[in-house]
Symmetry: C2
Subunit: 184 residues, 2 copies
DNA sequence: ACCTGAACACCGTTCAAGT
DNA sequence: ACCTGAACACCGTTCAAGT
């Protein structure tokens, strides 16, 4: 499509590449997707990708940014639902992102750019959760504790397929409190 | 070392390979460790590894088994400490395994053998935790819920470096109960 | 500025052959 | 049964050259 050549539309071409890369990453997985395959999909030579992106990780980051952006657009519509509703929604959202969550964690040590993206992502989620918790009078260290637990459990649920019922029990246990077994 | 040739010691040679593979996986990471590097360390030709192991994932599984075995040996010494102590101990243990946790999750889709190992590992941990929770009168679905949450949070803490204090807050929050904000 | 063909330095794995 | 040299089919990335 959209030919480039004269400064017509660098942005468009870039979007096109991210499109196809995202689709392949999500369906085949990051490792299983070769730069050659992405190039083929975008109708360019493999090395052309390096004109637009520093390397494969950089391309991954652009895909993640796109996914995040789309997610936020959808989030806006239900920002003031109760927290547990939001968590279930978020789970469904991230399920789409599938193996990419695991991929990001596995590559944290191999790409500083990716690590930065990851840290920012968690900071962002932390702020969001903090906002919701503040409505319940929870802030400071407690808020950060809750937020960390929530994100860990969400990530866990993503990488460990869990049936709907167990999933609900887990979220409810977190948000409504435990079957108390404090202090043996 | 230990020459093979006549049926002297297949087991010994295999241990030798797992040794060096484990060391490299832990220090350089799975992806960053080539079969060639492992072979070099073991003093054999690269393709010789395929006499002992089906592929790289199979070798990873052997390394994981070794790590697990060692862990259990150390666990035996403190099996009846209180649960939160055990969790802290486990965290320290798994920290050694470092990026391998993320590696396993990232490769779940690419190796059925690895997925089987992973599922068995969680089942095993689940049983262990269930034993401890039973002492607090928790079993059935509740026990499985607690166990799932615990393992997710442990995995989360592993892949997201957290200072000692926050870590303790998180574990205590889980085992001693939340700052209650039930039912808005 | 944008794109390419060709090459580089790998990678995991297989095969046919040797002992 | 154990081990190897050589090759296969990739891989991400770089470079020099073209428009």
């Amino acid at each position: 499509m959209a030919k480039n050549k004269r400064g017509v539309d660098r942005q468009v071409k870039q979007d096109e590449i991210v499109d196809i890369a995202g689709e392949l990453f999500l369906t085949q997985g990051y490792e299983a997707t070769s730069m050659a395959a992405i190039a083929r999909g975008a109708g360019v030579a493999p090395n052309t990708l390096y004109w637009y992106y520093r390397d494969k990780d950089d391309l991954l980051i652009s895909v993640l940014d796109r996914l995040l952006e789309d997610g936020f657009t959808r989030y806006a519509a239900l920002a003031d639902k109760p927290l547990n509703e939001l968590v279930f929604w978020l789970l469904k959202e991230l399920k789409q992102a599938g193996g990419l969550v695991a991929t990001v964690h596995a590559r944290l040590g191999e790409s500083v750019a990716l690590r930065q993206w990851h840290d920012q992502f968690h900071a962002l989620m932390g702020q969001l959760v903090a906002g919701h918790l503040a409505a319940h009078g929870i802030d400071g260290a407690d808020s950060r504790t809750e937020s960390a637990i929530l994100s860990f459990v969400i990530e866990g649920l993503l990488s460990h397929p869990t049936d709907q019922a167990s999933q609900r029990r887990i979220i409810d246990r977190l948000l409504l409190g435990p079957v108390s077994y404090s202090a043996g």
